[in-house]
Amino acid sequence: MNDVAIPFRYAFAASDCGGLRLQVNGSEVTMRASGALWLASERALVVADLHLEKGSAYAARGQMLPPYDTRETLARLRAEVATLAPAVVILLGDTFHDRRSEERLAPDDAAELRTLAAGRALVWVVGNHDADGPRALPGETADEMILGGLVLRHEPRPGLRPGEVAGHLHPAARVRAPRGTLRRRCFVTDGERIILPAFGAYAGGLNVRDAAFAGMFARPPLAGVLAISRVRAISWRQMEVD
């Protein structure tokens, strides 16, 4: 673990596995290259906005997107669970793309979700797309959850909210460097709260410069941009509008 001490407003450091460790309102968290957030002290894995069955939701309306998004998303989640062996997995809302997603779930994928819940706690924090939580699948349903000094909820509350961990907005950054520009999903944090990128294979991204993020941060936030096998820390100045 090569900690890089940087006299910056945020203390952050590269962790092994390409993640990025930092303090959010005094609690230590790790931004994972997969887009998951790892709370080591609680052995809790947090993923937001899986949007399972988004492909079939479009297919039902006549746009036949490849039907592999759910198994792809779950495979990514399974890989994280295998690496970290969490005691609790928290699905931070919009786990299903719509209210009928659970019915459309393929048997294999439903089995995968059940396996996920075996031997550990599975918490469904509900979101706007899946307000009722699962019907037949295992796990507890919650509107929000308090864990290790942090409050976990789907939709970030407006204004400054120290200690909040949320999803919903699908943050993505357009990064500029001398060599060119690039748009990627990202975590976004001011050291007091953190917003997670969408974890789902088909979930799009909203530019962090969008008005939806206005007023949420005490200072220009930092983005943890998802790159191949690692998270890159990018400053606000290098993020552009689309």
């Binding site: 490849p66 393929a106 294979a201």
Partner: protein
């Protein structure tokens, strides 16, 4: 004007003969030939140069037939359908066609129908069709997807396809060929008439437009189309601007020659100044106005300008108010401006056929030669322009190879058929195979396409309950419901343009004001807010980019930051490339070149090598701390870039440490940590690089993602437009096609759309076929010159280093750089 051939006396009805006589004309031989083909009910392809009365020749048989038919008691259907590649051309032909109709007093209604036609007129045309309808391939595809298509077209007697040479080798051509097959099915008595400019190989076009049948004899099909040739026309006079002593080593702007170009414009009546890119157009326009002491009316015309502005320029041109127009391929074909007497080509023409088309824009009178002036922008272009000039003089043109019809286009067509009426799968298969580009379509591919149209065609069969087309009890297929049909009709067409952003004047609060034009999204990646650039002939400062608009304000800077441009978007044609190599090798031929270019060739011969036409020169030399390898295949930027990508992988494996590369239309340079003199070059350039290395590179390439998006849109996987929604940009897709590409590639790598994307990338974006031909050509024929310093030939390509931005593949590097900056900022 009279042609020698004496027509049979009864070929033209008296009324028509009188009309010709009254204008002091005699019908030309090819016009009468076309009338004879019409009377005999034959399909015909007319090949004639511009100004040969080609359009009238196409319509004459229909005008006669309609004029001669007995009066009817019931309303008649459409008699003749005319398809033009351009909206503007359809409208222009409508005007030109109505002149003889009115003058002869014929009882014929001829009307155009384009995307710009008003709703009322379109509805009337649907209920009460004109005798002759003039439209575009996209409108035809839409008409064929109507529920009433069969009744609408059943009386159709003739379809006229204009400017076929610009269409047949493209996806638009695929779509048109399919619709032609459909029309034939709806109207068995329909005759096919093709009109084309002079082409290298008419058989290719004949095969494209012919009816291909079941029997083996018909499989080639071309026998069913008769060829009619117009008179050759006067030979064009093409001059080359030698700019003695001042031809630059590199560059694409031809800035050195602008004063001469301006003087030439002054001496001409009306000049068209063709360039190859929009940036070049903007630059040349700026430069000409800088020199324009006489305030000559010189205008600008390119695809990024607002449509109204382009229309204004065209109208001023038609009224004879302009002296010159600087333009891109937007004016390659189109309406006839009689008074243009000079065509200037700035920078290299890249192909002889395109150049003949452009030259044809000057002087639409057959018996006078068109005049053109080539203005090479650098030394290699001097060679290229000379080669093109000789090719044109010998009438040797480069042709498009025959095309295999794309499956994404077929998917769109199948959906269109299902929207129109139920189809039987076997019957539709036979119909599709009667279209030239699809004559060798396999049943397996056809089945895969129908499956794709219905459910997306995935190996994982979970979408059966969402079918877009459903099977009726009698086994036929039809669209599921009117909603699906309506959405299909909104998305018809095989043109996928890059996402365009509107350029607007910046108003308070970052709101957009007056629209100035449109730019491709990609162009913005080169500009930062505060940067200045030239657009629509003025200098602007970039203020901001919002979701849909590029906000700018006028800037008075004298020296705008010009985004670097990589010369032409057109690749040098294979044929022209060969002629350039021949010219270079043949020293006796050098006399036609200006002194400084000759000296440059002599110097190359002394210091390095000049190789034979069938060989490839490879130079290695150190420069600074780097080691260079430069090759000169002359195969165009695309093929060179692909070659460089693949060579870099190989050099990496050989431990040479490649650091970067740069390509232009003529050459490619790679630089590395270690010297490359000792490598086995035959091994390095072996053709097997097109195997696994290509596959591996291509899968990750942003070009595949771009190709996939295009195919997904054409095939209907992704809809650009929804009912009741205003289309503003191409960006309103609610999910990222890149995400879909990644998932599909991982879970079903052989899916139909990935096959389509691979085929498109291999031809359009990376030119694999051409690279393969080149590698085969140079096998055992690489001549290596190990030099201690750079060669004269290598100067132009080395001058391009640093002017190029790296492509999107360097994604990880971008992020690493951005992070490094954060750390630097934090430490400072």
């Amino acid at each position: 004007m009279a042609d020698a051939a004496g027509p049979p006396a009864d070929l033209l009805p008296p009324k028509f003969q009188a009309w010709f006589d009254g204008r002091g004309w005699s019908p030309r031989a090819h016009q009468l030939d076309m009338v004879a083909k019409g009377r005999a009910g034959r399909d015909a392809l007319l090949i004639a140069p511009t100004g040969g009365g080609k359009t009238l020749a196409g319509f004459l048989p229909s005008l006669i037939e309609i004029a001669e038919r007995p009066p009817a008691n019931t309303p008649r259907g459409l008699h003749t359908l005319y398809i033009s590649p351009l909206k503007a051309l359809a409208v222009d032909v409508e005007r030109n066609l109505n002149a003889p109709i009115l003058e002869m007093g014929l009882p014929i209604v001829a009307e155009s129908r384009t995307g710009d036609t008003g709703v009322a007129r379109r509805q009337r045309q649907r209920v009460k069709p004109p005798d002759i309808l003039l439209t575009t391939p996209e409108q035809l595809a839409l008409l064929c997807a109507w529920e009433g298509a069969r009744a609408y077209f059943e009386d159709l007697r003739c379809v006229i396809l204009d400017e076929i040479h610009t269409l047949h080798a493209s996806k638009r051509g695929d779509l048109l060929a399919l619709d032609l097959a459909r029309l034939q099915q709806l109207a068995p008595n329909m005759r096919r008439v093709g009109l084309s400019a002079t082409v290298d190989d008419p058989e290719v076009i004949k095969a494209w437009m012919a009816r291909h049948g079941e029997r083996a004899a018909d499989r080639q099909g071309t026998a069913s189309v008769d060829l009619v040739r117009g008179p050759p026309g006067a030979e064009p006079v093409v001059d080359l601007l030698l700019s003695e002593g001042r031809v630059p080593w590199a560059g694409h702007t031809a800035q050195h020659a602008m004063a001469e170009v301006y003087e030439t414009i002054k001496r001409a009546r009306i000049a068209l100044v063709f360039v190859n890119t929009r940036f070049q157009a903007e630059f040349a326009f700026q430069e000409l106005w800088r020199l324009n002491e006489d305030a000559l009316p010189i205008a600008l015309h390119h695809g990024s300008l607002a449509a109204e502005q382009r229309r204004k320029v065209e109208a001023a041109m038609a009224r004879g108010e302009l002296r010159a127009v600087v333009c891109t391929s937007t004016l390659d074909l189109g309406i006839d401006w009689g008074d243009v007497d000079l065509v200037i080509q700035l920078a290299s023409p890249k192909g002889a056929s395109r150049m003949v088309q452009r030259i044809g824009r000057a002087n639409h009178r057959l018996d006078e030669p068109s005049r053109a002036l080539f203005v090479p922008a650098n030394r290699f272009e001097m060679l290229e322009c000379q080669a093109a000039r000789e090719a044109i003089a010998e009438n040797r043109l480069d042709g498009d190879p025959p095309r295999i019809g794309a499956l994404d286009v077929l998917a769109q067509h199948v959906m269109g058929c299902a929207c129109s009426e139920p189809f039987d799968m076997l019957a539709l298969y036979e119909e599709v195979r009667s279209a030239g580009p699809y004559r060798d379509l396999s049943w397996e591919d056809f089945e895969a396409v129908v499956d794709f149209v219905s459910t997306g065609g995935y190996a994982l069969k979970t979408y059966d309950r969402f079918r877009r087309i459903v099977r009726l009890p009698d086994g036929r297929w039809r669209v599921r419901d009117q909603n699906v049909a309506q959405r299909h009709r909104l998305n018809v067409g095989a043109i996928v343009s890059p996402a365009m952003l509107a350029v607007r004047m910046a108003m308070r609060g970052n709101r957009g004001g007056r629209k100035i034009g449109e730019v491709e999204e990609g162009m913005l990646e080169m500009l930062d807010p505060g940067d200045t650039f030239v657009f629509a002939g003025q200098v602007w400062e970039l203020v901001a980019v919002t979701n849909l608009d590029v906000l700018v304000r006028p800037a008075n800077h004298k020296d705008p930051k010009m985004p670097s441009w990589g010369g032409s978007k057109f690749a040098l044609s294979t044929y022209l490339a060969k002629r350039v190599r021949q010219l270079m090798f043949d020293e006796t031929h050098w006399a036609v070149l200006p002194g400084d270019v000759r000296e440059w060739l002599e110097m190359q011969k002394d210091r390095s090598l000049i190789v034979r036409e069938d060989e490839m020169l490879l130079e290695t030399f150190p420069r600074g701390k780097r080691n260079f390898m430069v090759v000169y295949p002359f195969e165009g930027r695309l093929a060179h870039t692909t070659l460089a990508m693949l060579l870099t992988r190989r050099l990496e494996r050989l431990g040479v440490g490649p650091l970067g590369f740069v390509c232009n239309d003529y050459a490619m340079a790679i630089w590395a940590l270690k010297p490359m003199d000792g490598l086995d070059f035959d091994e390095l350039f072996a053709e097997d690089m097109l195997g696994d290395d290509l596959e591996a590179w291509l899968q990750e390439s942003f070009m595949m993602k771009r190709a996939f998006k295009g195919c997904a849109i054409i095939a209907g996987l992704i809809e650009r437009r929804f009912p009741g929604e205003q289309q503003k940009t191409g960006r309103q897709i609610t999910f990222s096609t890149d995400l879909i590409y990644d998932v599909l590639r991982k879970h079903e790598p052989d899916h139909l759309l990935l096959r389509c994307a691979r085929a498109d990338a291999a031809t359009g974006l990376i030119d694999v076929a051409r690279l393969g031909d080149m590698l085969a050509r140079i096998r055992g024929r690489i001549r290596h010159a190990a030099l201690d310093r750079l060669s004269p030939f290598s100067v132009p390509i080395l001058l391009e280093i640093g002017k190029e931005r790296s492509p999107g593949d360097a994604a990880e590097m971008i992020l690493a750089e951005a992070e490094a900056e954060l750390i630097a900022e934090a430490i400072a």
